[in-house]
């Protein structure tokens, strides 16, 4: 398996074939109609996703901007015996470290901080490499994208932890937990990065010129 473009090989697009994105059926492309439907599942066929790059960039920039309030603002407020204490994601992780739960601290650090940043930076790198037409590391970039797509959902972890805490720790001024603004921003970051992975067309990585 060689990397790079082989001039003798025919791509599906050049042969007039389109692969359905949902059911993967190959169909011959018609000449007039811009919007063809897959004969098996009815999806609209896209030889390349419409405005794939532009939409992905928009979502990536949105995610990047949202990352700041998500991490800098508190994500929940803990009331214990009358005293209120707002906590950011990072402060929450510090609590786990202090109480000796290193394992959980690592899990939350990964899911809430590393994964979102890795996703945003990762997709950006791939996008930049496409726009600058770098021809190397094609397989690695595709693999990296698959990893990004797979781990993306797991960032939602912190949101579920908050949901359980808020619902259970609800004993008035003695002890209660309520969410704080970062929760909404964080949920938004996870969603926008997941959408960015969906709007990105991986076939673009393999496009020569």
């Amino acid at each position: 398996m060689e990397e790079g473009m082989d001039k003798e090989r025919l791509t599906a697009r050049e042969a007039g074939l389109v692969n359905c994105l949902d059911c993967h059926l190959l169909t011959t492309k018609g000449n007039d109609t811009l919007k063809m439907h897959c004969p098996r599942c009815g999806a609209i066929l896209h030889p390349r996703k419409t405005n794939g790059m532009a939409r992905t960039w928009a979502l990536l920039i949105t995610s990047l901007i949202l990352l700041f309030p998500a991490n800098l603002l508190p994500i929940m407020t803990v009331t214990y015996l009358g005293g209120k204490e707002p906590n950011t994601i990072i402060e929450g992780i510090e609590h786990f470290v202090q109480s000796g739960d290193y394992f959980i601290a690592i899990i939350i650090f990964f899911a809430s901080i590393l994964v979102p940043i890795f996703k945003v930076v990762g997709i950006m790198l791939i996008m930049i490499s496409i726009q600058k037409k770098w021809q190397t590391w094609l397989k690695h970039r595709t693999l990296m994208f698959r990893v990004i797509k797979f781990i993306g959902r797991w960032s939602m972890l912190d949101i579920f932890v908050i949901a359980v805490m808020v619902a259970l720790v609800n004993l008035g001024t003695l002890t209660s937990i309520i969410p704080a603004p970062a929760a909404t921003y964080f949920a938004a970051v996870v969603i926008s990065t997941m959408l960015a992975s969906n709007t990105f067309d991986t076939r673009l990585i393999w496009e020569g010129d």
């Binding site: 949902d22 059911c23 993967h24 059926l25 897959c38 098996r40 599942c41 009815g42 999806a43 786990f96 109480s99 739960d101 959980i104 899990i107 939350i108 959902r153 797991w154 939602m156 972890l157 912190d158 949101i159 579920f160 932890v161 908050i162 949901a163 359980v164 805490m165 808020v166 619902a167 259970l168 720790v169 609800n170 004993l171 008035g172 003695l174 002890t175 309520i178 969410p179 929760a183 909404t184 949920a187 938004a188 969603i191 997941m194």
Partner: protein, 172 residues
């Protein structure tokens, strides 16, 4: 061994989705956990998590939890049942293709296993501070989660797509 199961994957998908659907309502309505501290008690089921988020004004987070833990998993079970039944009965029901396509599209938005990990982490976090007792809802939730995981792993998309095509061309 899992590859042998794929031969009868439509039948197992039917059984799994039906069982999942039966267990779904208890999983959502029965309490997951009860917290006991300072002599006071608080328990919650999954729907109450969502209403707690709404109560505190965090509507978007509440909707996200509602979608990823309740709506999407329920839809996936219903849709899988619908498509599997149609294939099993070789009946050209309405919109088989678009339905299965929709199923595949929403697949990643069902986050039951991530929710499970969140529950575990909360348990560990709360264990030292208060007494926790586990409800029947948690048991049902774990069952539904296991069912959806097995259903995903054993789903043979290629076989389903070719079966859908067969069913369509088979009818007048």
């Amino acid at each position: 061994m899992l590859f042998h199961v794929k031969r009868d994957s439509v039948e197992s998908a039917l059984i799994l989705s039906l069982t999942g659907l039966i267990l779904f309502v208890p999983a959502m309505v029965l309490p997951i956990m009860t917290l006991n501290a300072f002599g006071l008690e608080q328990s919650a089921n999954i729907l109450q998590w969502v209403s707690a988020l709404f109560r505190t004004g965090f509507y978007m987070v509440g909707i996200v939890v509602l979608l990823t833990v309740v709506v999407v998993p329920l839809l996936k079970l219903l849709l899988l049942f619908y498509v599997s039944m149609a294939i099993r009965m070789r009946a050209d029901w309405n919109n088989l293709g678009p339905t299965f396509r929709f199923y595949q599209r929403i697949d990643e938005w069902g986050m039951l296993e991530i929710c499970m990990l969140g529950i575990l982490i909360s348990i560990i976090k709360l264990k030292d501070l208060a007494q926790i007792s586990y409800g029947t809802g948690l048991f049902c939730f774990v069952l539904v989660l296991t069912i959806t995981l097995i259903a995903s792993v054993t789903l043979d998309e290629h076989k389903y797509w070719s079966s859908i095509k067969d069913v369509k061309s088979f009818s007048r």
